[in-house]
C-alpha cells in the first residue's frame, strides 16, 4: 500500500484552475520584469530583482515595501523629467506590487488555484488602476514641462501615418483602375 491523496481534475462544479507554481512564476516575472525595465542602474536593479525573488519565496516576510520604495524613489522622485510611459509603468508596478504582495500572504507554496480567484484579483487591480492612470497622464502633462510634446508627438505621428496611407490609396487606386 502506498499513501496518497488524489484530487480529480476538474473538481465537480468548480471549473478551470492553474497550478500555484505557475502563478508564482508569473508573479516573479511581473515583479522582477517591471523592476528591470524601470531601474536602469545596476545596483537598484539588482536589489529590486533580489527583493522580487525573495518576496515570492519568503511569502511570510513582507518585502513588497522595499520594491515600492525603490520604484517610487528611482522613477518618481529622483528623475526630474521622466518620460510619461515610465511614470505610467512605475505607478502600475507599485500598485501591482501591492496587490500581489497582499495575495502572497495567503497564497500557498504549492497546490492548485481556481482561475476565478486570479480573475477577481485582476479585476480589483484594473478597477483601481484604469482611473488612476488617467489621473497620472493628466498630472504628467501639467507637472512635466516636456510632457505636452511627449504626449502630442505620438498622436501627430499617428495622424501623419493615417494621412500618408489615405494619400497613397487616393493616388494608387485610380491608376490601377485606369490600367485595368
Amino acid at each position: 500500500m502506498s499513501g496518497s491523496l488524489a484530487l480529480p481534475a476538474p473538481y465537480p462544479g468548480i471549473g478551470p484552475y492553474l497550478p500555484i507554481g505557475v502563478v508564482r512564476v508569473g508573479i516573479t516575472v511581473i515583479l522582477a520584469g517591471s523592476s528591470l525595465i524601470l531601474l536602469p542602474d545596476y545596483l537598484p536593479a539588482t536589489l529590486a530583482f533580489c527583493t522580487a525573488m525573495l518576496m515570492v519565496v519568503l511569502r511570510r516576510v513582507q518585502l513588497g515595501w522595499v520594491l515600492m520604495v525603490l520604484l517610487a524613489v528611482t522613477v518618481l522622485a529622483y528623475e526630474t523629467h521622466p518620460a510619461i510611459p515610465r511614470v505610467v509603468l512605475a505607478v502600475a508596478a507599485i500598485h501591482a506590487t501591492h496587490e500581489l504582495g497582499a495575495m502572497l500572504v495567503w497564497l500557498p507554496a504549492r497546490g492548485r488555484i481556481q482561475l476565478v480567484v486570479l480573475a477577481r484579483v485582476l479585476r480589483r487591480y484594473l478597477l483601481v488602476e484604469l482611473p488612476v492612470q488617467a489621473i497620472v497622464v493628466v498630472t504628467c502633462v501639467f507637472a512635466i514641462p516636456t510632457a505636452g510634446a511627449q504626449l502630442a508627438s505620438p498622436l501627430f505621428g499617428l495622424a501623419g501615418a493615417i494621412a500618408l496611407l489615405v494619400l497613397v490609396v487616393l493616388i494608387v487606386v485610380p491608376r490601377l483602375r485606369n490600367r485595368g
Binding site: M1, S2, G3, S4, L5, A6, L7, P8, Y11, P12, G13, I14, I20, Q62, G64, W65, M68, V69, L71, A72, V75, L76, A77, P82, V87, A90, V91, I94, H95, H98, E99, G101, A102, M103, L104, V105, W106, L107, P108, A109, R110, G111, R112, I113, Q114, V116, V117, R120, V121, R124, V128, E129, V132, I135, V136, T139, C140, A143, I144
Partner: protein
Amino acid sequence: MTNTTRFSSKVTWVANPAIRISAVIAVIFAGGSLAFSRPLLALGAVPLIIACAMAWLRRNRATDVAIDTELLVESGNHDIRFASELTAPDGSATAVLHLVAKSQASAWVVIGTARTHLLAGTLSPEHSGPQELLRIDHQFVDEGGGALTLPAEGPRLNRVVSPPIARLRGLPLPPRMAGLTGGHGSVRAGEGGEFRDIGLFRPGDRLRRIDWKVTARRAQTVGELYVRHTFATADATIQLVVDSRDSVIQLVVPRRTRHKEQRGVSSADNARAAASSLASAYIRQGDRVGFQDLAGSSRVIPAGGGTGHLNRLLPAIARATPIGAAWRHVRAPIVPSRSLIYVISTFLDDEAGRLATLWRSSGHRVIAIDTLPRQIVTGLSPEERAAVGFLLLEREQTLAAMTGTGVELVGWDSSVTVSPEIALELVARPSRPR
C-alpha cells in the same frame, strides 16, 4: 458504505498585513511628495490609498463556517472516495483549503467561494488500522483582500482502514481436532469421514451403513450383519494472538528527527494483514477462530465459526493498535484446548516469545508469525546503526530460543520478496492430523 461528518466553527478575521504596510508606504509617499516638492511621487501613493480604502470598506465580519464531509468506501477497493461540501462565511471571496491526509500526503486548493462549494477526491491510505484519514484546514480571504481569517484546523475524519486479505491455500492444522463436525478428518469413529473399518452391526448403527457384499461374504449365521465404520469429521480451533503492543515502521529514523516520517510498511500493518488473512482462510474452510490482543485483556473474541463470526473478527483485528505503554502478562492468557496458536508479533521484546514457549510446552502447536518489516537504516549515525544492530541481534536470540522449543516460525513481511503465503504453505506440509 458512507460516513458523514459535520463540522462547524467560528473563524476570526484579521487585517491583511500587506494592506497595513501599503497604507504606511502611501502616507510616506504623499508626505515625501510635499516635503521634497515631487508631485510625481504622490502619484505612486494614489493607487495604494484607493486600494487600501476599498479593502478597509469591504472588510468582513461574518464568522460562521461549516464543512460537511462524506466518505464513501467502495467494496473490494482500497481507495476511499470523499466529497466535502464547504459553506464559507458571508463575504468571503476566496477559500484556501489544505487537505491533509495520513502519512503527510497533502494538497492545497484555492477556490473562489460562492458560499457553498463541493470538493471531491480519492484517498489511498498507506496503513491499515484506526487512523485520521483526512483533515481539511481552511483560511478565508474577503472580497477586498484586506482581511483574512487565521488558518484553522478543520474537521478530522477518523476511520478504521481494513487490512488487505491474502488468499491462503495450504494451512497448518492443530495436532488434534475438536468438535463434532467440520472439514477435517478426526481420530474418532463417527459419521461422514473417511473409511475406518468394517464391524458387526450393533444397536445404534444406521441401516444404510450395512455393507451387503461383506455381509454376504463373511456372515456365518442368519442375522449377522456387517457395517462400514467411518471416521468422524471435526473442525480445527485456531487462536490468533496478535501482539499490538508496539508498531515498528520500516524506516528507522534518528532520534533527533523532529518529523517522524510514517512512510513504509509497519509491523502493525503486517500483523493486521496476517491475522485477517488467517481468520478468513480458516473460517472459509469451516474451522473455528478466536482472537486475542496482547495489548489489552478486553480485546478477546472467543473461538467461533461462520460468516457472522468472521464479520466480528475482522473489525476487531483491524482496530488492533498500540495504546499506552507495553505491559507484561503475569500468566499466559487462556487458550482453547487442542488449538493451533498463532502468535503474531515483532518479537522485539521477550514477552510474545515467552508466551509462545509457554503454550508450546503445554502441548499446543504454536506458529510464530514474525511481522517486523525489513529495517531501512539509511541516514543513521554509526552509533544509531550499532544500537539497531544490537536490538535486532537480541531479537534473533529470542527467535532462536523460541524455535528451539518447537515453535514454528513464519515471516510475514510484505516488503520482502518471499511471499508469506508460500512460507505458511511450507509449514503446513509436514503437519498431518493424527
